[in-house]
Symmetry: C2
Subunit: 243 residues, 2 copies
């Protein structure tokens, strides 16, 4: 089965969490909105989101076509892929724990986004810069350390290995945490230089995931899109620490 | 099995989505932080969140003790309860669709919260009132209609019944949508009077859930806590429409 991933072309965004799982699984997939010509592109994505054509439209990208299924919400897609591609524990306790970690990361993603859009996603950053500066200070001072401290703790207390969040093998939350570190480094390089020192296990996990053969190949391919100032993780120097 | 629900005492908050599912299921549960004396209260909740005592602590309330499981993240708890108490479809497509709707509601909950806390959860509302007024305007103008319009569409296009979000029976997203309408009415009564007219199916679902025997009994009990200005849905008249 060839999966169809639907997500805004041009940014890693939330779609990246899904891409990393598909890549690590070695799954056959097409990133629909990035395809040129008929049958691809943003038009096709927008048609699927159009309620006039679907009884169960997704509220927003990303969403994944998997045969007859059309699955929306990033964490929900990963719940599905995790079970099918051995990227999550099989037992109930492990499955729920993986999903819980993923949902906690989803909260961090939303908070990172809102540092540059604290007022409205319908306005430009330039129209909410003053508010962004305030929100950003609180995010860097309180939230980045709290979230990374939490994942550091989970890694330190994983009884079976301190190299993965769960058990002795890679699961989808590991892949997502890799991308979170990448995104935070891109958006807040000065802050992260300081914060990372206190979270060695998180950094080691990031490195371990980056070195996995399929992920390393992906990161070197054109399928990987760079961060930029249209996505969730944006680098506005005025929003990072001063030094 | 007696479930233990852990959530901040004194507000409905995110815990309410879990309470409604437990009540509709007729499940045996204790709302731990609201119990007086030893073995209850906020202290017990805080101990479980303390990483020194747990390898898999929840990041934040609510969380649910179910035998040996300790499950965090509201939508994750509902995923678990939905499967066990017949509050979600049994087939994969239905289960994923229910969870997708719940996660979309979780996004709305976060946005509703951030109308009064656009800068930081660590600051008082009074310290971010100016920013709150701006965020609130965008939320009322763009986001409430977008979310409620989406759920109205889902209700209208449910092939098996337009009285429930999924199939012909109550599922956990129905219970959550009931609470969302209640919360939005409390926080934005003037806005909702106008918006509700365009969303008759959402309003009818709210009424249908309120009339279910177990839910009606719960709403009249002391187990139900009123909305107030410490929770997610807060009524600050200056944040509602002017008339």
């Amino acid at each position: 089965m060839r999966y169809e991933l639907y997500y805004w072309a041009g940014i890693p965004g939330r779609g990246e969490f899904v891409r990393l799982a598909l890549e690590e699984a070695g799954a056959d997939y097409v990133d629909v909105a990035r395809q040129p010509g008929r049958g691809g592109g943003m038009d096709r994505m927008m048609r699927l989101m159009d309620g006039r054509r679907s009884a169960r439209p997704p509220f927003a990208p990303p969403f994944l076509r998997a045969g007859q299924l059309l699955i929306g919400q990033t964490a929900n897609i990963l719940l599905y892929l995790g079970a099918r591609h051995d990227l999550a524990p099989k037992n109930e306790a492990g499955r729920l724990w993986a999903h819980q970690l993923q949902l906690t990361m989803a909260d961090l993603v939303q908070e990172a986004h809102d540092t540059h859009h604290p007022i409205s996603g319908g306005l430009y950053y330039e129209d909410q810069k003053r508010e962004a500066a305030r929100r950003d200070s609180a995010f860097r001072a309180d939230r980045i350390p709290k979230f990374l401290g939490y994942f550091e703790h989970v890694l330190a207390h994983n009884k079976r290995s301190d190299g993965f969040l769960i058990g002795r093998r890679t699961s989808y939350p590991d892949l997502s945490l890799f991308h979170l570190v990448e995104g935070l480094r891109y958006a807040f390089p000065r802050t992260m230089r300081r914060v990372e020192r206190r979270h060695p296990r998180v950094v080691a996990l990031r490195d371990r995931i980056a070195a996995r053969p399929r992920i390393a190949a992906y990161l070197n391919s054109e399928r990987r899109q760079p961060f930029n100032e249209s996505g969730i993780f944006r680098h506005y120097p005025e929003l990072d620490a001063k030094k």
